[in-house]
């Protein structure tokens, strides 16, 4: 995972609410066995709509996406996060995110920034003409018009994003605690701690 501390540049003013993962990346793109190349399929149906923001060359390669409430609802497909990354998007700003998507985004070094709808409305306006600046260290979103919004982020996630840390490796370092739990469970909850050998 690449460390991330600062995202600055144009933001795609998408703004739509309840953007589900089937919209971000339709199922027929999920047949891949790698993580790359999914940007081509991202927002496939939206890209067919006349005058959609994704075909506006001004936003090509923009690192930020602005969306409405409940972004990333629906399936658990991490392909949604991979598709955004492949498009060059490393941060999404929205009033709220689905739980699974926000976890997937985090694990791929995508910064999800939750801001109130008023802030989203203002940033949508700015995004039409100007870049937006997101600083993870100070947890702020700013524009050249003196807009300044603070956002909350889980401290552990912030630590991992800033350091580009591999969560699997971090947890494997806790192998003893996991083994201790397994030993305890073999006693207390033996029926969960194993599956019958005969099955």
């Amino acid at each position: 995972m690449k460390p991330i501390s600062h995202v600055a540049g144009r933001a795609i003013p998408f703004g739509r609410k309840n953007v589900d993962t089937d919209v971000i990346i339709p199922a027929h793109w999920l047949k891949t066995i790698t993580r790359e190349g999914l940007g081509k399929g991202a927002f496939e149906a939206v890209k067919k709509e006349e005058g959609n923001v994704f075909e506006n060359p001004e936003f090509s390669g923009a690192p930020i996406l602005i969306a409405g409430d409940n972004f990333g609802c629906g399936s658990s497909r991490e392909h949604a996060a991979w598709a955004l990354l492949d498009m060059g998007i490393t941060s999404v700003i929205a009033p709220s995110f689905s739980d699974i998507f926000s976890g997937n985004a985090f694990k791929n070094g995508i910064l999800t920034v939750a801001l109130p709808q008023e802030a989203i409305d203002r940033l949508m306006e700015v995004a039409q003409t100007d870049p937006i600046d997101i600083d993870l260290e100070t947890q702020t979103v700013t524009t050249r018009f003196q807009d300044r919004y603070s956002f909350e982020i889980d401290p552990f996630r912030k630590h991992c994003l800033l350091g580009g840390l591999d969560e699997v490796g971090l947890t494997m370092a806790q192998g003893d605690a996991i083994a201790a739990h397994e030993a305890k469970a073999r006693d207390a909850l033996p029926f969960l701690a194993k599956t019958p050998a005969t099955a």
Binding site: R16, K17, N18, D20, D22, V23, P26, A27, H28, L30, K31, T32, I33, T34, R35, E44, A45, G68, D69, N70, C73, G74, S75, S76, R77, E78, A81, S96, S98, D99, I100, G103, N104, K107, N108, D154, P155, F156, E167, V168, G169, T171, M172, Q174, G175, A177, I178, H181, E182, A188, L189, P190, F191, L192, A193, K194, T195, P196, T198, A199
Partner: protein, 500 residues
Amino acid sequence: MLREKARRFPLNCGSGAPNRAFTMTTKPRTLYQKIWDAHVVDTRDDGTSLIYIDRHLVHEVTSPQAFESLRVAGRPVRRPDLTLAVPDHNLPTTARKDAEGRVLPITDPESAQQLAALKRNAPEFGVRYIDATDAEQGIVHVVGPEQGFSLPGATIVCGDSHTACHGGIGALAFGIGTSEVEHVLATQTLLLKQSKSFEVRVDGRLGAGVTPKDVILHIIGVIGTAGGTGYVIEFRGNVFEEMSVEGRLTVCNMAIEGGARAGLIAPDETTIAYVEGRPYAPKGEDWDKAVAWWNSLATDVGATFDKTVSIRAEDIQPTVTWGTSPEDTSAIGGVVPAPEDFADASKRDAVKVSLDYMGLTPGTKLTEVEVQNVFIGSCTNSRIEDIRAAAAVLKGRHKADNVKWAIVVPGSGLVKAQAEAEGLDKIIVEAGLEWREPGCSACLAMNPDKVPAGERCASTSNRNFTGRQGPGSRTHLMSPAMAAAAAVTGRLTDVRELVG
């Protein structure tokens, strides 16, 4: 309730942080809290916990990149014995073997590649694997409970959001992304923050023709697709207590469509009777210990929830969706709504877009909406009770001429065999519907079963998203009985008109 909790535990209110006071004292706990407490390996200062995972289901779509990462890092699967791999999403539901018993190849090269990757990865990492041609193969969320692999009180994950399903047997079960699949394979744990608790009560008597699917569609209509975001839902009330385990699996399956990562129903005698004797279920002394523990899991009297919604069972009608979000529900007796019917401005815009996509005019009676396709199947509704409910409507009837494509897809090979033993396949075929091999099928457009652009499908699946059943497809979600009724009349239909 919130305020009361805040007074007692000012430091932890709302943070979702596990409170040692909860575990050390006799403070009443919810079912969710009890399962959570039994699985905490470690808790950090920021309230994140390392949670032990008891059962991990793996399928071909969300696992290849996870296995690949393990291979690259030289990491083994920590507990292959607690992991079960089954292919389901990509499989065609047509015959898998020819007349001579030779296995037929998968024609789509990308699907074949993903299926082959799972077949290769599972033995390489020592993971148990059920093959596409095995009698036990099926949709992971049908196979897990059916095999007794999914157990009450267990933590269960799978790289699929409908893992919420297994909450129907009282397991804490939720979908995860591929990075988390890798994390569980390598460590048998997940880093989680405890969710808030959400009680959804349905009390009273369900009317004739009202099934578990109608109950959950109605609930999602009430709470919205984001109503459960950040929460784990516990479904409570006499309606769920009286429901079969299969019905409970249907309800919890769609908790995710209400935004909740997991749905739960307390294990009871019905659950225990369901689990007993299944291949992976505990045996002998372990079984007795298990039953004793399961009987202690129900939410304690006096335990509080962060949020509660109560619904009268009598208010629930046979329900269908009209739009492109699972919250777009209506009783079958209703009409297509107009954007102006909605107070929220962005919802009005969304409704406008979705009615346009669905090709529906506000004010049209739902029972006048014609369907060209019918799909009975998916992890929501493909168990034996679902097939029976569909067959009961189809018996002695025939599909309408305007219905071009109608398929019934059992959730597993064992469901298929059971249905055939009961003669249900014959009823289905005589009614002009196709009887298929198990898999995810037309729930999502990943295998050959797709709904053509611009056409409607009466579907027992769980998502009516834009393009979900194929580019341009128009999905109406409903119960198996309602989908069977739509097949017979060729339009959305109140099943109560066919079956008195």
